[in-house]
């Protein structure tokens, strides 16, 4: 025989448990603290996300990779090879964590995920880029290194000062026919060879003391450049005394490889 279900049985059981103290209401303060904790976590994650995004922009500028896409397809390959992909993955993980934290709120779950994710990306890129143009990273890097900060100093040393392959940043020290000598920011003197295939800005006039980004693989102490760009406004490097020698008059085509003289290798 089937026992008919008593609709009041559930009510009686629940009320009995409440009155026996087996079920206790969580206080309003508990939920307030939980909301504050979630909000604080969301703020911290957002700040970390913006910091890492701004660091990516800082690194791309500092390494010179920012300028290499202007050198054509080889420059784009150099840019992609130099990109700090590990940091980008960390940024993506933080964005996902942020989505999870705010998912419980209607403002997040009522819209398709792609909208909120795009919103996070746009804000991170905009604020991150703006932050990278302030002296924050440069000052923080100097402080971290001078105070030998164990984690952050190493982060800036290992990542911020890494020499990406396929490009060099440095100061022009001497002009030569068909190229120039350059003192890199790491203190190496290298010889840059310019050919008919080298991408240069129109009306290019290079001078001693100019800070340049050179695209090209270093072989020994010379680089066959596929691109050169002057970046004195974007960088601060120790400058040798400026000379007035001009490489080639504006408007003249660059030297063909057959016109290049034999380059003496600088002896240290």
């Amino acid at each position: 025989m089937t026992i008919p279900f008593d609709p009041n049985a559930i009510k009686a059981a629940v009320i009995a448990k409440i009155k026996a103290g087996e079920i206790v209401m969580k206080s309003k303060r508990y939920f307030l603290l939980r909301t504050i904790a979630v909000a604080a976590a969301a703020v911290l994650v957002t700040l970390a996300l913006i910091y890492l995004t701004s660091f990516i922009f800082f690194f791309l500028h500092r390494s010179g990779a920012w300028f290499t896409p202007g050198f054509g397809s080889r420059g784009v390959r150099t840019f992609l090879a130099s990109f700090p992909w590990g940091i980008l993955i960390a940024v993506a993980i933080l964005a996902i964590i942020l989505e999870v934290l705010v998912e419980r709120y209607a403002v997040a779950y009522r819209r398709p995920l792609v909208y909120s994710f795009l919103g996070v990306v746009v804000v991170a890129l905009a604020v991150g880029y703006a932050a990278s143009r302030t002296p924050f990273h440069t000052a923080f890097s100097s402080y971290a290194r001078s105070h030998n900060a164990p984690l952050v100093g190493r982060f800036y040393r290992d990542i911020g000062e890494r020499r990406p392959s396929g490009m060099e940043v440095g100061t022009v020290t001497e002009m030569l026919p068909g190229g120039f000598l350059m003192l890199t920011k790491r203190g190496d003197e290298i010889q840059v060879v310019i050919s008919g295939e080298t991408r240069l800005p129109a009306g290019y006039e290079l001078e001693e003391g100019d800070i340049v980004v050179v695209g090209g693989e270093r072989v020994g102490s010379s680089v066959q450049a596929f691109g050169v760009r002057e970046v004195s406004d974007d960088f601060e490097l120790p400058l040798p005394p400026r000379g007035r020698f001009r490489m080639r008059p504006a408007g003249m085509p660059p030297l063909l490889p057959s016109e290049l003289p034999m380059m003496p290798v600088p002896v240290k």
Partner: protein, 184 residues
């Protein structure tokens, strides 16, 4: 005049335990129907619904009385039932839906449910057991519990457009099952 659910919830928050009994009385038949239609007898519906009310009482101070009580308690029920299914079927990502990622244009919610739905409920009763949990739940909430798209979105924490997509696909799945059963 009967007190609104939200007014009763406020009394419970202020310490009136007996007022909670009124909410239990009102929602027991609805949540039992939801449990039986959604869980399909795999779990003990009465035990599950009792657990839902225990969770509702424990967390009553998280309920915002400016919002509606019904989607809030259905949300607690949804979480309990989903956990039970996930535990039993060992599928933690049972309800991940790629349709939650992107927006969808959907038809406006139907306002006149009467004629079509009586036929549809007959079909539902016959075929619901053969429809997957993801679509079964939204069909139950829409046709049996008569929640609107916005309430369902609040219960399931989904975009409103995704609710429409799931409902549409749920109806298609029902039609296929019905056609298959009627050809046998």
């Amino acid at each position: 005049m009967e007190q609104a659910d939200e007014e009763i919830a406020l009394l419970v928050q202020q310490g009136n335990t007996d007022a909670f009994g009124s909410l239990v009385e009102r929602y027991t038949p609805k949540l039992l129907r939801y449990a039986r239609k959604f869980l399909l007898g795999r779990e003990d519906a009465e035990d599950m619904v009792q657990e839902v009310f225990i969770k509702a009482y424990t967390n009553i101070n998280s309920f915002d009385i400016s919002r509606r009580f019904s989607p809030w308690v259905y949300r607690i029920a949804h979480n309990e039932f989903i956990n039970a299914i996930s535990r039993k079927e060992r599928e933690p990502f049972l309800f991940f839906d790629p349709d939650e990622l992107f927006p969808h244009p959907i038809a406006a919610e139907q306002t006149d449910r009467s004629i079509k739905d009586s036929d549809l409920k007959r079909v539902l009763d016959e075929c619901l057991t053969s429809v997957g949990a993801k679509y079964r739940e939204v069909l139950v909430l829409y046709y049996y519990e008569e929640l609107n798209y916005t309430d369902i979105a609040d219960v399931l924490h989904l975009p409103v457009s995704t609710v429409g997509v799931r409902l549409k696909r749920g109806r298609e799945a029902l039609r296929k099952v019905y056609e298959k059963l009627n050809h046998l």
